[in-house]
Symmetry: C2
Subunit: 580 residues, 2 copies
């Protein structure tokens, strides 16, 4: 990873490709890379779909190595959804492959002269870009089939569906998984719209002829990796909960805690939760044969394997095993308790290239606007079909919950900085509410996952219903998360490293063994703070103030059953999160 | 004007009406009243369509008196279009009538429990409110007919059309004119959506049995009024240009200056300008008989009379004489050069209750998105019909240009703070650009009308193409405008008072003669500053920063023919406008 691939769509005689040395970006990976490039190169007040915005795709610091869990990738830009800085994170195969090819980042910049659609091909000999209008308005599944027919079964793809081409605010960037299906997405913040605005439909990656990235200190690295994997296997969440039921193990947990946002955040418990829980999902998947539940990682090198495959009742592939947030978004939040319907919707989201969280939140707002009834799965599917077709209604919905709320005059819209809240009601998991309000990303659970200490007893225990202790909890998690997002590590390692000091140490040893550095725990914290400060500064220059670090009004006034709690962390406390 | 009428839609057993003394609001009128009430009573971060927002309707300080030109009315709230404070100003009859009834403000607050629609009736005996669902989704014209059938020909109406009921961002509040037609609108910022969110369709005003408000010093008042009117008659703009051709006299002027935004702000001259100019309009109107051009004031007491009536070729009433900004919005900005089509569209805007500026800007953005061709008047009419019907496409368009741009992925959207720019290209009338960028209102020509010194040689002369001198020009005009907007005076008096010191003095004498105060010119300036500071503070608390005091990116990069100028007033200079 000693170079950067820069693709300038504004070149005088068409797109121009350059390979550059790392320069000021040496030593950065993942979110540290994307946020630094965006902060340094993108004018904060630019139009997110204009020539001045850049899409930065960066493997983690350890991606492409033998380090377990290191295959996550970051996608950064100014977000067309929030208007602030964005890092959206994804699994899939490209991270490892791009890293093996030696690229620390791919930067898409400028703007194409016309509406020609391009494909980029990257292999050991370098990168090329070609117009290919035959790809226009293909869904991600058809697109990947076409690419495989052209380039073979071993390439991976980074692509957009119809939503990205239409530059919609909920558009994702898709990454192919180990089966070369476009099931892994950098979903949040409309990163797919920015890729669409650059006129690039797909980046095809072929790592044939490359080798795994070698560690600087092979002995130390190998030992640390062993200890690290053992730590993950030992912890009940990463060793047992996630592998057995997948992320959807959370449905029953969050529902029992009364924090499961139901029917557009009206109540905290869903009577149909048991029917769409991880346990029910595993039973269903296992009963349908195939590989069954929780048998897959989202990328090569994963040892938790919280994913799986969803087949229909006739044994035909539908989609990857839908994640907890997806099941919630299209399930409880829309009053839907049918796993088959949820899987179909998940498949549609992946195909059109849409963020499942944003779309579930949006459809629930649309249900409040009377466009379908809560619980009406076929109604939800009809609404989503509109997005794929690009009808006016579809474009509204594909622009996300905030725009949908505006267009239909709905006040109860669960967004922060224009981005939809995920599957944890901030009134009943208050640490999560603090993260939603204050993260640089717009409402985002992954930015500081306070569910750990609030509900799971991981990394300590903080009463989820009390405002006490939530600021510190969220602050520490946001700092740690920013650092983890720089490594290419899956965020789920946090469960083990929060609870097991020796596993945290093994992660640091792993980084040091690989890079030859001598980082301490304090250095990791400092890295996280540096990333966050950089992001906050970008957002401030883009026009964000503490008024944007707030939850929507109604969550402060409307009590959430069954605990009948409102969000009561004070504004003053919220303003203390970034006190470093 | 010694009391406030407060209508609380959140009352436990339905809407509650209270009449209150002025308290802290004594001595305030128009924009000074609306902005003070909003700043004092509305939480800046509240949802604009929620129970915490308030709609404040306030006659000017001199409204209801014999002072010439004093019948303008202010409508204030937190704007659903900009997210900031809003004062939208209108002519029509209600200002004089409300003032004669003794109300310094009508405040609509709270939120109705359900979707029942209400009508409010105000007369000398007080105010009442009644549900009336028979009014649902009536256009303003049908509504006013129904109200006249019920209450007689002498009442006036403040109402919303379908757009306000749908809570769309471009929804206006309509005020009936001297012929009791709903042709006068507080158009900007979505004030109609806020009225819709309160569930109030119409406020019916009957001033029977009331008298003109008497001045404190009748002699002084009478003499000052005479001098004031003489001053207006003497000035070439208010005495000649406006009365002869109406506001549309500006089409040829602005077009010749190369500052006429054509086809979504792509060029500064429109080849069809002569066909839709004030001169052409006057000729057409006069040829069709009726009262002809420029024979009407927008309210009783107007001595400029820049308005008229537009009849179709068969002599049937279509609409009031469309104003310059309306002719531009639906004309040159959409490449349309047909006055009959523009008049039909103006009628539709008035009927649905939509801001003509916002809708013209929006349709041009929609044309850039391929929804109709520039110059296609029937296409524009079809698009507008969608708004009236409330289809998804109509709701997008009715939400304004910013939302339309987002939904269709268009970068070139001429808005500031989410509100569309009016009929003066900021690149070629740079003082106007400074006002667009920095006013508290979102892009708004009336907030500091630098066309005066930039193009008309009124109040001095500042080169419109140079960045020099524009900051001071805009600052002074913004301050003066805020003060004028407090008086109930028509803003067009500014032409005369800027050029003729004795006319300015007569205005001050008029105020002093009426109120018994001893204001000086400095006091007027101080009032303007106080209003602006209050508005800036509200916006800052709502989350606005200097990053929001900017024009869209593309206007800084894309040169405007024929002068090939960009907007080159620096950010640093823009930040100096509010240096007081």
């Amino acid at each position: 990873m000693d170079k950067i691939l820069r693709i300038n769509m504004s070149g005088s005689s068409g797109p121009e490709i350059k390979t550059e040395p790392l320069g000021p970006y040496a030593g950065l990976g993942g979110r540290a890379m994307t946020s630094t490039v965006v902060a340094k190169e993108v004018p904060p007040t630019c139009h997110a779909l204009g020539a001045d915005n850049k899409l930065v795709i960066a493997p983690g610091l350890l991606s492409g190595s033998a380090a377990a869990m290191s295959g996550r990738i970051s996608v950064g830009c100014k977000s067309p959804l929030t208007g602030g800085i964005k890092e959206a994170n994804s699994g899939g195969q490209p991270s490892q492959m791009i890293a093996r090819l030696g690229y620390a980042a791919i930067i898409l910049e400028g703007a194409p002269k016309d509406d020609t659609l391009y494909k980029v091909m990257i292999n050991k000999d370098g990168a090329t870009i070609k117009p290919d209008n035959s790809l226009k308005m293909l869904g991600n599944y058809d697109l990947v089939d076409k690419i495989k027919a052209e380039f073979g079964e071993k390439v991976s793809c980074i692509s957009i569906g119809q939503a990205g081409e239409m530059k919609l605010g909920a558009a994702s960037v898709a990454f192919t998984d180990m089966e070369q299906r476009p099931t892994r997405h950098a979903g949040r913040g409309g990163v797919g719209a920015v890729m669409g605005s650059k006129g690039i439909k797909v980046i095809v990656i072929d790592d044939a002829g490359t080798a795994m990235r070698p560690p600087k200190d092979p002995e130390k690295f190998k030992a640390a990796n062993k200890e690290f994997v053992a730590g993950l296997r030992k912890h009940p969440v990463t060793g047992q909960g996630l592998p057995t039921y997948g992320t959807n193990v959370l449905t029953n947990v969050v529902n029992e805690a009364g924090a499961y946002p139901t029917r557009n955040f009206k109540t905290g418990q869903f009577e149909g939760a048991a029917k769409i829980s991880g346990e029910a999902q595993a039973e269903l998947e296992n009963s349908r044969g195939g590989e069954g539940s929780a048998t897959h990682g989202c990328h090569r090198g994963c040892v938790i394997r919280c994913s799986g495959t969803f087949y229909d009742k006739n044994g035909r592939f539908v989609t990857k095993q839908p994640e907890y947030e997806t099941v919630w978004a299209h399930g409880g939040n829309c009053g839907i308790d049918d796993l088959d319907a949820i899987a179909r919707i998940d498949r549609m989201d992946d195909d059109f290239g849409l963020d499942t969280i944003e779309m579930g939140a949006t459809i629930a707002v649309a249900m409040d606007a009377g466009l379908a009834k809560f619980g009406d799965a076929e109604g939800a599917i009809r609404l989503l079909e509109e997005v794929g077709k690009g009808t006016p209604l579809g474009r509204i919905l594909g622009s996300g919950a905030a725009v949908t709320g505006r267009v239909f005059g709905i006040e109860r819209v669960p967004v922060v900085k224009g981005q939809s809240m995920p599957a944890y009601d901030p009134r009943a998991v208050k640490g999560m509410g603090v993260t939603y309000a204050t993260t640089t990303m717009g409402a985002d659970h992954t930015a500081g996952y306070a569910v750990t200490a609030n509900l799971l007893g991981v990394g300590g225990s903080v009463d989820p219903l009390s405002p006490k202790g939530q600021i510190e909890l969220s602050r520490n998690l946001q700092i740690a998360t920013a650092a983890i997002d720089a490594t290419g590590m899956c965020l789920f390692i946090a469960f083990a490293i929060l609870d097991q000091p020796e596993t945290f140490q093994s992660l640091i040893d792993l980084i040091n063994g690989f890079t030859g550095a001598n980082l301490t725990a304090d250095d990791v914290t400092a890295l996280g703070k540096t990333i966050l400060k950089q992001e906050r500064n970008f957002n401030a220059a883009a026009g964000f103030t503490k008024a944007h670090d707030r939850l929507p009004d109604y969550l402060l006034k409307e009590a959430l059953p069954p605990h009948n709690v409102t969000f009561d962390v004070s504004d003053k406390e919220l303003d203390e999160v970034f006190n470093f």
